[in-house]
Chain length 474, copies 2
Amino acid sequence: MGSFLIAGRFMLTMTGSGIGIIENGAVVVEGQEIKEVGASSELEKKYPGLPRLGGRDKIVMPGLIDAHIHTGIALLRGTAQDTKNWMQQGIAPFKRHMQPRDIRLGSMVNIMEGLKNGTTTFADYDFPLDDIIENYLEIGARACLASTINELSPGMDKLKIGELYPLDESIGRERLAKALELIEKWESRGEGRLTFLLGPQGPDMLGEKLLGEIKDLSRKQGYKIHMHVAQGDREIDQMEKRYGIRSVPFLEKQGLIDEDLIAVHLTEATDLETRLLAEKGAKMVHCPGSIGIIDGLVPPVLEFLQAGGQAALGSDQAPGNNCNNMFNEMKMACVLNKVKKGDPTVMPAWKALRMATIEAANVLGLENILGSLEPGKKADLLIIDLNQPTLVPALSHPVRNIAPNLVYSARGNEVETVLINGEIVVEKRKIKKVDEEEICREANKAGVELGERAAEDILSSANEMVKMMEEGYL
Amino acid sequence: MGSFLIAGRFMLTMTGSGIGIIENGAVVVEGQEIKEVGASSELEKKYPGLPRLGGRDKIVMPGLIDAHIHTGIALLRGTAQDTKNWMQQGIAPFKRHMQPRDIRLGSMVNIMEGLKNGTTTFADYDFPLDDIIENYLEIGARACLASTINELSPGMDKLKIGELYPLDESIGRERLAKALELIEKWESRGEGRLTFLLGPQGPDMLGEKLLGEIKDLSRKQGYKIHMHVAQGDREIDQMEKRYGIRSVPFLEKQGLIDEDLIAVHLTEATDLETRLLAEKGAKMVHCPGSIGIIDGLVPPVLEFLQAGGQAALGSDQAPGNNCNNMFNEMKMACVLNKVKKGDPTVMPAWKALRMATIEAANVLGLENILGSLEPGKKADLLIIDLNQPTLVPALSHPVRNIAPNLVYSARGNEVETVLINGEIVVEKRKIKKVDEEEICREANKAGVELGERAAEDILSSANEMVKMMEEGYL
């Protein structure tokens, strides 16, 4: 950590209503924070001795925020694509054979993938989180953590599809205790890189009593609630079977819908439910790639935004979305929503950039420290190389094509340098603090071993990928 | 050029009905061609002295085929996104200020982008093509070229939207003559890297007389016809105004629908029209990214495939799709079609891989030389690094996740080495024969100058991106 002057031909401050462009701008970083933002020529005069980063062939912008990710299951990447029963038949038979080392290694691969592609904050929603937190600290990334709380007993994934899950309050209570211990243990560490949310896993996955207690805790202690809501027809079916009511009306009745609710997915929310959430100030996380691939659906994010709601983007998880790259999510958000509406003007590129930066910070309650280039905010930022084919040409007149090129053309590997908390964590496209290739090799080995352990379960089930292999397609 | 033994942990031969996997396989390349394909252990014994490429941490697969691309307008990247009148208000006012150097530089940037991301064959559909062909030969890529033929006079882009274009047969005749001269001039050059198609630009853009003559030529000389068909409501409207009939029935009446027709887009084709094309043996090129962004639509490729048709994928052009990367196209094809049908099982990853390799070769009539790893075919192939986060873990048991990881997770920069015609043209992710950074810099400069020349035209029109800039979004 030190002080830098970081200049860019195009600086996306993400202030105002759009991308907050400053051409030939610069940022002065001091310690963990942004000290000053302005014209490069002025700041260069004012701070003549500072080490320089960036330059005339660069874009400088805030780090990207992945507002919903489960890094713990990354070692299952690619194991359940193009299938119908993604969770119960695809993922679960692998997941039950995962060991702590599998979680740790897969999570690190996921974090490396995100980080190299410009993700600086990961809203990780998983259990257990201790090893995953060690990864974030080791690599130097920022995490906004929710330890998932549910009341599901281990055998739950063996239930028949459609059968009501039995809930066990003691399990949920233990999970809640662990979530609070986790916060206690880690909150003061990582020099402010770690923040926390409460993570009930979904209205169908824990009882109303514990959910109420979590809401009380949230009110008292100020932690927001990060929760899957209306994430699939499976959830709605469970809610109707258990309570005779759909997820959103249930949450309303329980008093959970307010500005502290971060509702993830809303895949199955009706227009009315979506508007209700937005109007009551709840936030939404839109995971277009994941839900597109797993369900073939596009959640109602446009309706949510239109009702005045604030939404962020999330990459969800490697086995579903199959990748964790916010450049992918921004593009998917734009293209999938255009196609849903048959209208090329909806979800423009600048909006996707906002939903991956400043609006994501708002959603997670981190808008005072993240999401834009402004004095006093944490120095989480990206330096992006303009001399890459995908970003050529870079124009400012008569039209400025930087936002469309970042969203529709860039792949993520245009990111050259990543600063988090004022520290350079990626330099010349290399992660500084861990050995990427070594981790990939180890994770590959662990994945193969996990496959061996899971093989009997997978092969004895009606796994659709096994069928595709047998038929000679894979 | 020389001889190599190229080994891979996973070799995708693309033979059979799926990806034709050989685990621990190898390819022997001799000169321009593939000599032998088989188990790595056997081929290593049989050819002990050959220089080795690839290795245990690699995927080896055929080069990707971009079956429809206009590289000549790449310098307009990002200038018309999120807008309604993409062609007439977005692209045309820029295009009319393009100079030959702009075409040449933009095209080179596009080819670099594709090549680094594994595209080895570019079905370039443009006019004029001479400079573009020089690019392909300079960089060492393969091109399947169609010089576009239309009867549109230069002022056509100034017509009001909906007005019938005047057609001038003399222009079309000159374009046809130039297309034939082009073939004559280049066909014997490039050591077989250059192949040719006839390229009438669309049923609405030239008269029925010339179209008939082109069809006769195609029959006599064996060149297939590469043509936009039902590419937008604009085309259908023109056809109905000019002939009182839609594009597909018109082409049927003219005798153009047969196995030599490569119909691009079909955005506006009805199910009946789509089936008719497939049943008569016409081929389709599906450009999911481009049509998704420009029109907010998903063309009827699933209906075409279901009717027994063969389809390929294309990236179309930089100003629409905004990128020219077949990894993007494969993913877009899968996700957009899943979302269109609300079904995660449609358009599986293995099918997208086939549509970018062997089935694309079939579509372009190049199946005897391209699209799979088989003895006697040209040595166009990719070596892909498995030690990249996006491809971790690589599993073969109990499920083989290589196809989903390549399609849903890889971004393109996992491609390490590219061989075309037996020659290494990309090595360690660097293009060998041109200076990438220098070209990007020059193209950036040319883009800025083009912007200046076009500024008055753009600013005096109702350009939607200018409006977004004025409103502070871009």
